[in-house]
Amino acid sequence: MITLLLAPIALPALAALGYTVLGWQRRTAWLGTLAAAGSLASGIALATIVTGSRPRTVLGGLLRVDALSAYMVIVIGAIAVLAMAASPAYLAGEFAAGHTNARTARRYGTLTQAFIAAMNTAVLAASLGVLWAAIEATTILTAFLVGHRHTRGSVEAAWKYVVVCSVGIALAFLGIVLLNYAAVHTGLPAAHAMDWTSLTANAHALDHGVTRIAVALLVLGFGTKTGLAPMHAWLPDAHSQAPAPVSALMSGVLLSVAFYAILRVKVISDAALGGGFARTLLLIVALASLTVAAALLLAQRDYKRMLAYHSIEHMGLLALGAAAGSQLALAAVLLHVLGHGLAKAVLFLSAGHLHQALGSSHIHAVRGLAGRAPLLAGTLGVGLLALLGLPPFSLFASELGMFRAGFAAGLGWAVSLALLSMLVIFAAVASHAGDMLLGTRTDPPAERDPASAVALRLPATAAAALLAGLATCAVLGVTAWPLRALLHAAALVAAGT
């Protein structure tokens, strides 16, 4: 059991060590994919063990796995496999363009693997303190990945990212301090006051006033890292400047890992204060995020920033689903986490390739992509359709589930407001996508660079990763049976029953 539970953390950590020692070469390029696949496999094994059984704890109560943690390990593993499988082709392109050298490639390999290990630590942590430290570690590890290219834009993005996220996570720490204070006053021993199990068991005795401040700070703090408005300012910059596979990981899973922390806090808050307090907080940030995303997507001229704002929208939807709070809503939220992660990873990887080939992230530079590079246009177009919530992709099913649960919970007005924002977003993204894929090019044919047509062709390994991601997302939309039992068990944990 202990080997299996440590594998999702140890395998990427070993791969990180491998990259530090050996550097990024032809022989080691697939090490990261291998480690990610290994952690995905151990996630699946953990899920089969804990579904319908009791949670397991190892290392003297430092790490713990229940259905929710196991599900998150699977999500992290699946998206890490996609991002890592596309990395060799991406770095080869960066080498060719002179944007990277052996030293920065070595650092890329080490930091991405350490980043995956930190996210797995966060979801397997048994206590709020360890979870906090792991999430803070992800900020520090990804800071240099965001600033990978050393350009003006990427350094600015990295600075903003570290400052805003460190402030957010510091507020979350104050929340932890206050929750610890309230917990110690219920008679819990200080060493275990932050464990999920003891906190939930003693939640009814927590002092209301202090817990209220603590929960508000925790939602605000972890919400910063989730990219929820009003603390979202870092997200479009960081996600648009990071290397494509890192953007895929950050947007696809890191946001959801921070959201996982909010789900855990919500269980404690619901037990201590009743469901109303966390619901109000989540509704405010959900509607604010959806509005911000809709307003800023309308006039967006940069396709990478467009994808980043789209992430803010989806995080808002997750918060809305969590506010509804029923078991159906939470199962839909968890399915949405996986669907959004897969589709967003595919899109960021496609956009990264596009950026490498064209040297510009302007929507106008891409016009007429369907005629120039059908495969890339296909992954980009289909990915956007999936993200906009069209069937057969799993996001359709999960959004429907969240809305139904929202109406059932008496949040019809909030769901209607959310649908209105989504309508605006749908129109904006569809028109940008139409422009990129089918629009007429304005530059005269004589000035066109024939090299860019060659560069637009997707390498086979990257194409395989993109198609696999889209296929998984579609299969999950048609039938969620491989995950049904796990989703059910994980939603029970997240609902606090």
Partner: protein, 219 residues
């Protein structure tokens, strides 16, 4: 140490701690801000030391020494080195002038007292009565962060916030579990190192560390 001395020493440490934060609002020269930050770190270490003596807790005493080394010596040295490399000594254009900043500080202190009422009520003791001071420092740090332009002033604002949070942690429960506290200190050190590297890169890219020049990315 008898109860009166304990309360007096605790209040003295908290007073110096708060005063240093307020003076940061007043001073424009970055070198002076770094010096104030070192004084505040020493006051924080003194605060923890007083708590350690009062509770006869040797472990807490060791933590006080650690805080002194990190926050009164190591971090100020890092900041000063970044300052020398930058070669700029004044905050040129804060968004809010000194008088308005000090007024804002008074408002933030009132806010801190109002918000932390439940914390004091849960277990009234000399230590928990000082929690509003810690929260005031946190809010002042946040204020510095959003109203100053220079990268280094922003860094100082972040560190003020962090000092405030650490003080709140020790005043409420004499510290979260030691593992977490160590992790936090380590994280702060790392975050500062990361930001220092980024300031160096920023100077290479922009020629100055004035965040006003960061106008590349916006909507």
């Amino acid at each position: 140490m008898n109860e009166t001395t304990y309360v007096q020493l605790l209040d003295l440490a908290c007073g110096v701690f708060l005063l240093a934060a307020v003076l940061v609002l007043w001073r424009r020269r970055l070198a002076a801000i770094v010096r104030l930050f070192a004084i505040q770190g020493a006051a924080l270490a003194g605060l923890v030391a007083v708590l350690a003596v009062h509770q006869h807790d040797a472990e807490l005493g060791a933590v006080a020494v650690g805080i002194l080394l990190l926050r009164a010596i190591a971090l100020p040295i890092l900041l000063r080195r970044a300052l020398q490399a930058a070669g700029e000594t004044r905050e040129t254009q804060p968004l809010v002038n000194v008088a308005a900043s000090l007024l804002a500080a008074a408002v933030l202190a009132l806010l801190a007292y109002a918000v932390t009422q439940p914390v004091v009520r849960l277990s009234p003791s000399p230590a928990s009565h000082a929690v509003p001071v810690a929260v005031t420092v946190l809010l002042l740090g946040f204020f510095v962060l959003v109203t100053r332009h220079r990268a280094l002033s922003q860094l100082a604002g972040f560190l003020l916030m962090d000092n405030g949070i650490t003080a709140a942690a020790f005043l409420t429960t004499a510290g979260v579990p030691l593992v977490v506290e160590l992790g936090v200190s380590f994280d702060v050190l790392l975050a500062v190192l990361v930001l220092q590297v980024l300031t160096t890169r920023m100077r290479a890219a922009f020629g100055s560390t004035d965040l006003d020049e960061l106008r590349e990315l916006h909507d």
